[in-house]
């Protein structure tokens, strides 16, 4: 699945400071019944976002018009639980291109990287600074600079560097995915498979 190339993203952000946000909250299992990838964004955080009659829950941040943008700021241990890539799809389809947290669950992080959502892991202190800045002024922008691996809070100028392996970084900046790479080394894979016991 092709995705937009990621280079430098400057945007306001949506704060969701809860910890251990699991993928069942990001998208409940009953919305995983599609056979194509289409419109998962409408059910992002479905049960936190809507009442059972379909009316919006006013208190949930996605229903608060003060906050918006292409960056989601989550609490610690974001994306735990199920391996459903639908969680990453729903975040992308909603319009987010980057999730910031002080800690990500493994599979969710991988899934994001595979579909063009950049997971940016920051220190707990820097995450607090981001929340503070956004709560003080919702129009605060963050700059996510992938080539320089740096995240900056525009209103305060505070910044921190983040990790990403060079292979994934190249993929994201060029819009490539792993299948492109793997297709090119199929000969190596065939040779390798010949010697396997099982």
């Amino acid at each position: 699945m092709a995705y937009d190339k990621f280079n430098i993203l400057t945007s306001t952000a949506v704060p969701l400071p809860l910890e251990n946000v699991d993928t069942d909250q990001i998208i409940p299992a009953r919305f995983l019944k599609a056979t194509e990838r289409k419109d998962f964004g409408v059910n992002l955080f479905r049960d936190w976002r809507y009442n059972s009659d379909g009316s919006p829950k006013e208190s949930f941040v996605l229903n608060n018009s003060v906050y918006g943008g292409k960056i989601l700021i989550g609490g610690r241990n974001f994306g735990s639980g199920s391996s459903r890539e639908h969680a990453a799809w729903s975040i992308y389809d909603y319009g987010f291109r980057c999730v910031v947290s002080s800690f990500f669950a493994d599979i969710f992080r991988n899934n994001c990287l595979n579909i063009g959502v950049l997971p940016v892991q920051v220190s707990a202190e820097f995450a607090e600074q981001i929340f503070d800045a956004i709560y003080k002024d919702a129009s605060t922008e963050l700059e996510i600079n992938l080539p320089e691996q740096k995240i900056t809070i525009s209103s305060t100028g505070a910044s921190e560097s983040f990790e990403i392996n060079s292979y994934k970084k190249e993929n994201l900046t060029n819009g490539y995915d792993d299948i492109d790479y793997l297709q090119n080394i199929k000969g190596d894979i065939e040779t390798f498979a010949k010697d396997l016991i099982i």
Partner: protein, 465 residues
Amino acid sequence: MSKTLFDKVWDSHVVKSIEGGPDVFFIDRHFIHEVTSPVAFLGLKNRGLSVMYPERTFATADHNTPTINQHLPVEDPLSANQLKTLEENSKLHGISHWGLGHEKNGIVHVVGPENGITLPGATIVCGDSHTSTHGAFGAIAFGIGTSEVEMVLSTQCIMQPKPKKMRINVNGPLGKGVTPKDVALYIISKLTTAGATGYFVEYAGDVFENMSMEGRMTVCNLSIEMGARGGMIAPDQKTYDYLEGRSQTPKGDAWDTALAYWKTLKTDDDAQFDKELTFESSDIEPMITYGTNPGMGIGISKSIPLSEALGGGEKATYKKSLDYMGYHENDAMIGKQVDFVFIGSCTNGRIEDFRDFVSIIKGKQKADHVTAWLVPGSHVVEAQIKEEGLLDIITEAGFTLRQPGCSACLAMNDDKVPAGKYAVSTSNRNFEGRQGPGSRTLLASPLVAAAAAVTGVVTDPRNLL
């Protein structure tokens, strides 16, 4: 150089290492089901790719399937469409497919081992986080996303950085009523749901050595709930005895060759782990969860912990969790209301779990107000329940047995817990709404679930054994 069990299996499956990046990692066995595979097949179609080794992929339907009247058409059109899509994709690409109604159908992590598809030293993936189950056989097994399902279908490889290594040791005898589920819930309660993130776990010590293969599967299944990608246990005679003669295991000379290799799959004495933890078996009692993640578990005789020691963000999350459950700090768990009981899932849907359940309910009656779902993990488990005479005891006690599937574990099929109701569940996740919007889940062992089913409230199973 000394190696861990994990190193030995991982290193022997690296096709190529990318500098500053992941390994190209070869997958021996790939399981697929109806929910996380259709978009991967669509990806193949859009790119004009074929399946490289169809004989290495195995399809079964489990998440969406109803657990009664499986001979009738599936009512929900979306579920029916996913099931049909899996069947068509499997047929098109020459992949073995055990769909609804097939004699080998069942939950993917139950039927894999049962048929000997799961083997020691193998690398196994599936678009399902509980793929970690297969680590019980000394395999490296973990869940992947749909993009990776597409990679495995088209190239039999995924791109993975090698995780760090953790060993968890538990030694000593287990107390009365303490099962593998309790051991796992205890470890998760100590580590939290993020405590093993970034690691692959090896379980060691006589507690795991003494477990049956079913018990080991329960433990490895729950590895993901502490954040680990997977967990594994070194294969031993019990592993080989379980596997020998199963339909898909190697036969004759191939068995001997494989067995000789499997016997080398142990952590070397002086091999190093990035982290090592040790717990005492005597500290573990039957466990139950009180919150909305699997790390929020306590001994069943204990009270809900206080939030005093927690920091700001943590405290808010903790309070939100207890509010959702309708519980308060310092509440005792014994005596809490129970409306539903679920025995089943890839965690506790095997024969041993039903034997445990029956050991408690035998000669008693289901509590009137409790709705109980007893769901075998596969048709093979269902047949065993009947052969061993367990079904008669189940029926006499006022319970009914359903047909195999994921059932009430994840609210994708008809088995859903209504909003506000409490379910004691042998499954693996107690997240908000996991068993249905607004449902409240208490994770526990089959013994604790059985005790709740006959008394109608949270009850210490040790008093009924």
